[in-house]
């Protein structure tokens, strides 16, 4: 067992933002051949502001101080309940699909708090469809996510519905409104 540990748990810079608060997709080391990851490693990096948290993915900015954070990072505020590859890393943006894909008109909807203004925005998680899975910036967060029995609040569905093909490419997080104060 000790030997096994030594062999298996040599750290590797990870695939995704492996926060301990992240969901099943976030736990995908996805390392072909058995590499292991330490959840703490990439998280620490992102918190130090040293990059997007995804090695080999350059940080981005919206250019708008009212929309803070890095859209190429799983930490970005709008991604509070996203599950999939970030379109920002795939030729799209946080609110646009990559060229050649089709944005699903049928989506699930959540709310996330913008740290710049403290408001809860209504976010539509539109999937982009029709190209091979992007493979970059796998991110899964589940704030307020609900089971399959309530699909409009569930992120484990391939939401490429109503598109010409249901092949999943990546996910966006589009602002469609601001929630009322409660």
């Amino acid at each position: 067992m000790k030997d096994f540990d030594k062999l298996s748990e040599i750290a590797v810079r990870g695939l995704a933002r492996f926060s301990s608060r992240r969901g099943v997709l976030a736990s995908l080391g996805g390392l072909l051949g058995g590499g292991a990851f330490f959840p703490a490693l990439p998280v620490a990096r992102a918190q130090e502001g040293s990059g997007s948290g995804y090695p080999g993915v350059a940080p981005q900015s919206t250019g708008n101080p009212e929309d803070p954070g890095d859209p190429a990072s799983c930490d970005y505020w709008r991604y509070c309940a996203i599950d999939g590859f970030l379109c920002s890393c795939c030729g799209g943006s946080q609110s646009a699909c990559p060229p050649g894909t089709e944005m699903s008109p049928i989506t699930w909807i959540g709310t996330c708090t913008n740290p710049a203004d403290g408001k809860r925005y209504i976010i539509s998680y539109n999937d982009c469809c029709g190209k091979p899975a992007c493979g970059r910036c796998l991110c899964n967060r589940n704030e307020g996510e609900r089971p399959m029995t309530r699909p409009q609040s569930n992120n484990d569905i391939n939401w490429c519905l109503g598109t010409s093909t249901a092949a999943y490419t990546c996910s966006t997080a589009v602002i469609i409104g601001v929630a009322l104060e409660q």
Partner: protein
């Protein structure tokens, strides 16, 4: 709009609870998720239609309190099919929704919808005769 105390809240509830499947403009994905735009208020013109809208699963199952649900239904009717809203329309009340949602339709929703739509005025029935159960 009648029976809509807070239109902004109603619209936000539409976003959060309905539009993901029904699309922002309520055009839906027929036949499974039928279009509501342009004909949903016609249910109010046929017998049984008013009750149907309180028991159809998408309404009955929505994660909203009765009063906000009534407001949302009233808002949906006037927003997406105001042209067919009867002049004497009595807005849905919280009590009416509370009663209807306790007895939600399941698969029979499809047949009931089809039967109700048969009674729609001919000119609109033929124009948008998609059947479905989702709502």
């Amino acid at each position: 709009a009648p029976g809509v105390e807070n239109p902004q809240r109603a619209h936000l509830n539409w976003m959060l609870h309905c539009q993901g499947c029904h699309r922002p403009d309520a055009t839906g994905t027929p036949p499974g998720t039928p279009a509501m735009a342009g004909d949903v208020a016609l249910f109010l013109q046929v017998e049984g239609g008013r009750e149907y809208l309180t028991r159809v699963p998408g309404v009955a199952n929505a994660a909203l309190p009765d009063d906000q649900l009534a407001e949302l239904l009233n808002w949906t009717l006037s927003t997406f099919d105001g042209a067919h809203l009867p002049a004497d329309f009595t807005p849905y009340s919280a009590e009416e929704l509370s009663a209807g949602r306790k007895r939600p339709f399941v698969s029979e929703a499809t047949q009931i919808r089809a039967a109700l739509r048969e009674k729609f005025p001919v000119d609109v029935k033929t124009g948008n005769a998609q059947e479905g159960s989702g709502e």
